[in-house]
């Protein structure tokens, strides 16, 4: 950790900059900037923060910001980091969508977006693949992942119900230690 903790304003700027660099995901930049460039957290701390952030529901990257902000500057720091992470890209993306509303009828823009949609589907598919292969290959995992997929993707059941049902079952059936 650096000696002098960052102020709220510095935290806002740090995470705003990081967020605006993150085309196709902010996480790689979070590691690059927080650990490698600024050395605000060391590599072990980063893993620990990541594990904590992933445990909380909601966007992991925002939780990383809040945890780092909190360590630097308390509750105010956590919210300053979150605001930095969200407000500037919010403005950017709303601006982009406004431009799209005005000019989106042009044929070439529709062609462009149709092509890009293939890539954005591929982006999520690659992420799904990476996550699936990282999961231990047990019958239990396979059954629960398949049940979730069937409920949401094939049967179009409400996520809330499927999640509560399968979540309760998954917690009730203990994972066997290997």
């Amino acid at each position: 950790m650096t000696d002098t903790p960052l102020t709220k304003f510095q935290l806002f700027r740090l995470f705003a900059g990081m967020s605006l660099m993150g085309f196709g995901g902010v996480m790689p930049w979070a590691h690059r900037i927080l650990v490698e460039r600024r050395r605000i957290v060391d590599p072990t701390q980063f893993l620990e923060i990541l594990a904590y952030a992933q445990l909380l529901p909601g966007p992991t990257i925002c939780h990383i910001g809040m945890i780092v902000g909190h360590r630097q500057c308390g509750q105010g720091g956590a919210w300053a980091a979150l605001a930095g992470m969200i407000v500037p890209p919010f403005v950017f993306v709303v601006g982009l969508a406004t431009l799209h509303q005005i000019y989106g009828q042009a044929g070439w823009i529709q062609d462009l977006l149709r092509g890009m949609a293939v890539a954005s589907a591929a982006l999520v598919a690659a992420m799904a693949l990476r996550m699936s292969l990282a999961l231990p290959r047990t019958i239990r995992n396979l059954i629960f992942a398949a049940a979730m997929f069937a409920g949401i993707a094939l049967l179009h059941w409400p996520l809330l119900l499927v999640m509560l049902g399968l979540g309760a079952m998954s917690l009730a059936i203990p994972v066997r230690e290997r």
Binding site: S19, M21, G22, F23, G24, G25, V26, E48, A51, Y52, Q54, L55, L56, P57, G58, P59, C62, I67, Q75, A78, W79, M85, I86, P88, P89, F90, F92, V93, V94, A97, H100, L112, L113, G115, M116, A117, V118, A119, S120, A121, A122, L123, A125, A126, M127, A128, L129, L135, N141, F144, A145, M148, G151, I152, H156, P158, L160, G167, S170, V175
Partner: protein, 178 residues
């Protein structure tokens, strides 16, 4: 309250509830249920609109949950954009702030481990559902499938910036190939 604000409010409640279900897979995993809610059940936007919003958010910088912002915007203008964004961010952020305050610092605790193991296959099922929904809506012709397969291979197997893949597919779209 006019119609737009009413829709924004309904989006707010539904997305806020969903945000607490996004465990492990991030907000991306909520996309199929959001699509079901705004497009299939309520008909505020079409599935096509949903995919366009998703794709626009992918090419903008920032955390990838900003697609929810654009879905809200498409359904209910700026109030919708704000409602969707706040709904996705704030409930989990409050939870994070509480847990930081009470010092539940470690995702490595026994209870945290257990929860994570229980939820891991479910979040993978959710992300796979997102990949499925996007692919079904954006990938149609055999040539689309070829481009999709190459894109997944490149995104999975290399460390290329995803923007290059999105750009390449956009160019193919403009050339009338995808």
């Amino acid at each position: 309250m006019d119609r737009q604000d009413e829709i924004a409010l309904q989006i707010f409640w539904h997305f806020a509830m969903l945000s607490m279900m996004a465990v492990g897979g991030g907000v991306l995993a909520l996309a199929p249920d959001m699509m079901r809610y705004v497009a299939d059940d309520n008909g505020w936007i079409t599935r096509q609109d949903f995919i366009e919003s998703f794709t626009l958010a992918q090419i903008a910088p920032g955390p990838n949950f900003l697609f929810a912002t654009l879905v809200g915007m498409k359904a209910a203008g700026i109030p919708g954009a704000a409602a969707a964004t706040i709904a996705v961010i704030v409930p989990p952020a409050l939870l994070a702030a509480f847990s930081l305050h009470w010092g539940a610092k470690r995702g490595g605790s026994a209870w945290g481990q257990r929860l994570r193991r229980a939820v891991a296959p479910l979040s993978i099922g959710m992300v796979c559902s997102t990949a499925w929904a996007l692919t079904r809506s954006s990938v149609h012709t055999p040539v689309d499938w070829l481009a999709f397969a190459i894109a997944v291979a490149v995104l999975y197997g290399t460390r290329f910036n995803p923007l290059w893949v999105i750009g390449a597919c956009g160019a193919l779209g403009m050339a009338g190939i995808l």
